[in-house]
């Protein structure tokens, strides 16, 4: 076992990248719980039904709450509608972006693509860039120097993490990124995971997004009203808190540079409303281990393999309470992390797979 003697370099073209490739952590073979092929085939089966049902509810709720905002604008009655619309636009879109990006939500490909592009726009994410960054996240989950989607780096910046709930930092990053890309400029990090043949597609997608935002601003000016911006763009600020609340728990405080999702990913039991918004991504270990399984089958997959996984956190509150002292400790000692304990029925972690210093783990 070795420890990360030097500070982590989260650039995707830096020293940590070089070491991850050299040590075989990049594009490694990951641990999977044994699941009989027959059972896995059943779990992987695609169906349009659940996602069509959920998408109809989703769109109806978005349109209904938007109508409420317009109707009650200028009164206090607008507040609950803003709350609902904001979460649907700024948070639930993340789960739709994610599932449809994997192509697992619907059986029909074009349905996945349509919802993926709408959700990408809502999130101010370039649909081409983020498809590739997420592929990398699955190849090299929480491998420093390789994973483009590490939400909280070490040592943790707690102010930044707190501000994430307001959407301000993401907004400040996402909008200028889209504008830069619309002018045809991709960063070195982006070029490290987007294939060259897709560069132009990424630029064209950014131009469409920017054009819609320009049109929205123009409409707001013409109407002399904030409503167009409150409905398009600004929900990324006031509605992002649920996405951050659920999403941060996926990997925060757990091990990095390991090739077993049981060590670096967290499953948390959540209430039905959050699970609808999040499309069951609270079963996150299961999702990472078997990304082919659609969101609606994840509870069944969880039942099938939970004997081999760490005990899930019983609530979001429990998970945050568990991780808070770990984050505080990481401020002084960034190698510290929370080691997930396995039940006696599980296959043990394979130490030789992991570049971990177990002495740095909180058990």
């Amino acid at each position: 076992m070795t420890t990360m003697a030097r500070k982590r370099d989260y650039s995707l073209v830096g020293e940590s990248t070089r070491r991850a490739i050299e040590t075989g952590l990049a594009s490694a073979e990951w641990y999977h719980t044994d699941v009989p092929r027959k059972a896995m085939k059943e779990l992987m089966q695609r169906s349009d039904g659940p996602a069509i049902r959920d998408t109809i509810i989703w769109i109806a709720a978005i349109l209904g709450s938007a109508a409420g905002i317009v109707w009650f604008w200028g009164t206090w009655w607008v507040v609950p509608f803003l709350l609902v619309y904001g979460v649907l636009y700024g948070s639930s879109s993340d789960a739709r972006w994610h599932e449809c990006g994997h192509g697992t939500a619907f059986r029909t490909r074009w349905m996945n693509d349509v919802v993926y592009h709408i959700a990408s726009f809502m999130l101010m994410r370039n649909p081409v860039q983020w498809r590739w960054s997420h592929a990398r996240h699955h190849t090299d989950t929480i491998i420093v120097g390789r994973d483009a989607e590490i939400a909280v780096m070490r040592p943790p910046d707690l102010l930044k993490a707190a501000l994430a709930f307001t959407g301000i930092l993401d907004f400040r990053y996402s909008l200028p990124t889209l504008v830069r890309q619309a002018f045809g400029r991709l960063s070195d990090d982006e070029k490290s995971y987007i294939p060259e043949m897709e560069f132009n597609k990424a630029v064209v997608a950014a131009r469409w997004h920017v054009a819609i935002y320009v049109a929205t601003i123009a409409l707001a000016i013409v109407l002399r009203s904030w409503i167009p911006l409150v409905l398009i763009g600004l929900p990324r600020l006031y509605g992002t808190w649920h996405m951050v609340t659920t999403g941060l728990l996926q990997h925060i405080g757990l091990a990095d540079n390991v090739v077993d999702h049981r060590l670096n990913t967290r499953t948390v039991y959540m209430n039905p409303v959050s699970r609808f918004i999040y499309w069951n991504m609270n079963y996150h270990v299961e999702h990472h281990m078997f990304p082919m399984v659609p969101y609606h089958a994840l509870p069944r997959l969880h039942e099938l393999i939970k004997h081999d996984l760490p005990e899930p956190n019983p609530s979001m509150w429990h998970a945050y309470r568990e991780v808070w002292p770990v984050l505080l400790r990481q401020l002084k000692y960034e190698d510290f992390y929370l080691k997930r304990e396995l039940p006696p029925t599980a296959r043990p972690y394979r130490g030789e797979f992991h570049e971990l210093d177990m002495s740095a783990a909180a058990e």
Partner: protein, 103 residues
Amino acid sequence: MADWVEACAVGDVEEEDVIRFDHGGRTFAIYRSPDDEFFATDGYCTHEKTHLADGLVMDEIIECPKHNGRFNYKTGQAKGAPVCVNLATYPVKVEAGKVMIQI
């Protein structure tokens, strides 16, 4: 000159499914389509080194288990991101209940 090699018995592959076949240091994927025809491709996804035999067959599509990249396993055509490079395919014949591939 390419050789015909016995990959498996007909009954080894379920309808609309895929199995892995290793031969000569290489790995292949053997498919049985919903209309009961057999096909063969390279065993690894062209995006990253993942066995397609762990993936999902839907009609004429094989979906990679790692990143959900899709190929038409009859033609090898990559169907979009994250797979950009086509998959090599191999001739297949069935003789006396055995699936043979030409490699």
